[in-house]
């Protein structure tokens, strides 16, 4: 339907007015605390690799790998959805959330088989992030390259 009638508009106004608001302050604090904790854990792991002689640039890759592993493990153990329910964006944005967004559909659709279930559905949530993330990274990289010429 394209144009709404007055009756529909009035109704939508009423719904908007009555709709309960999400507990914004609580959500922000929870996101800050949990997101911060996840990043602090990442920092501890990174510092560990640096203390063993890696440069911070070199330590980035193994740190990411460990954080992705932890996110996947907690998803498999059925814990990450509970963290996410509490923390919202605090546990969605870090790389552990990215792992959760790939592992959770892979688990969910295992019953449809390894090809049409796990493999095909694995990227239903993360797919758009990858497509637009990789595209924008390529474009920005190209612009950066041209500016430097």
């Amino acid at each position: 339907m394209s144009a709404f009638t007055k009756e529909q508009k009035d109704y939508q106004k009423l719904v908007k007015q009555k709709r309960p608001k999400p507990p914004m302050l609580k959500n922000i604090i929870a996101a800050f605390a949990v997101g911060g904790t996840i990043c602090a854990i990442g920092q501890v792991i990174l510092n560990f690799f640096v203390s063993r002689g890696m440069t911070p640039e070199q330590a980035g890759a193994p740190t990411s790998i460990i954080m992705i592993f932890l996110g996947a493990l907690l998803t498999g153990l059925g814990v990450y959805d509970k963290i996410g329910k509490f923390a919202g964006a605090g546990s969605v944005v870090p790389i552990t959330g990215f792992a959760n967004s790939i592992v959770s559909p892979a688990m969910e659709f295992k019953r449809e088989g390894y090809v049409f279930g796990v493999a095909a559905k694995m990227f239903v949530i993360a797919g758009p992030v990858l497509v637009y993330g990789i595209n924008s990274a390529t474009i920005i990289g190209l612009i950066y390259y041209l500016i430097k010429l």
Partner: protein, 336 residues
Amino acid sequence: MSIKKLGSQTIRFENPPSIIGTASIVGPKEGQGQFKDYYDLILSDNIYAESSWEKAEKKILKEAIEIAIKNADLTTPKIDYLIAGDLLNQIISAGFAARELEIPFLGIYGACSTLAEGVTLGSIIVDGGFAENLVAAVSSHFCTAERQFRFPLELGNQRSPTSQWTVTGAGAMVLSSKQQNPRVTLATTGKVIDMGESDSNNMGAAMAPAAIDTIIRHFQDTGKTPDDYDLIVTGDLGSLGKEITEELLKQKGYNISNKYADCGVLIYYPEQDVHAGGSGCACSAVVTCGYIFKEMLKGQYNKVLLIATGALLSTTSSQQGETIPCIAHAISLENL
């Protein structure tokens, strides 16, 4: 001219069909709600010893139908029709349950209003003399609905405060030409109403106008007033939809507040963390087949108006930006 029709959308059954047996099966979360003593079976887990959620849903639907037939002191060959539906694509729970039951099967889809639709059609068949006994049944399952309509269970996300929790359960009702209470006396078939709500996490607000339309139509067609009922109960509008329905009906001159309830609000305790309440085909079905039916047998309620509501959307229509068309069917259950 139709002799059984009242007004524009209501029918009065000449030989009101009897509800001679019901069954309700629910999942563990529903089994913690206030109606726990009214259900025939409460599952200890959602998978019910099956290898997928879909198989578990089919199993509870089949068992609810079998228990209802047993509770009605009948056997499967005595059932002339099975009218059933659910929320899954191509109503597989109903079709697969029917595969094992060997009862002539009519599959229907009315989203969460399916039970009232089934009871309406079933009552027409019984009143018309086309069947002696038949079963109307529905099911829904939180885990099958989540994966079809929303996200994987293990995804760490937050639910909207207006979102509702799909009831895991199945309800079945045996309608018969026998003369016993409670009866299905009236049925008002709703029109599809769309007030432009497009948020699929706010079904209560989307469906409320359909419920309001059907309730007003029911009163206008039959000449009844809210005072003619002991209980007026909507299917799954949830807390927000219920509030809107009550308020807008009052504005239109129908004050139902002192006898109005919503199955979606009743089925869980507020502290069960279900946001706006329950939803799904099983929501109104298990409350009606469990609590309402059993309280009608006791005489606690004698005249009940059930208005089951359904949102006729799909994930495709939502992704294409369509608003949500909704329906509500009313049935009167009475002890005569």
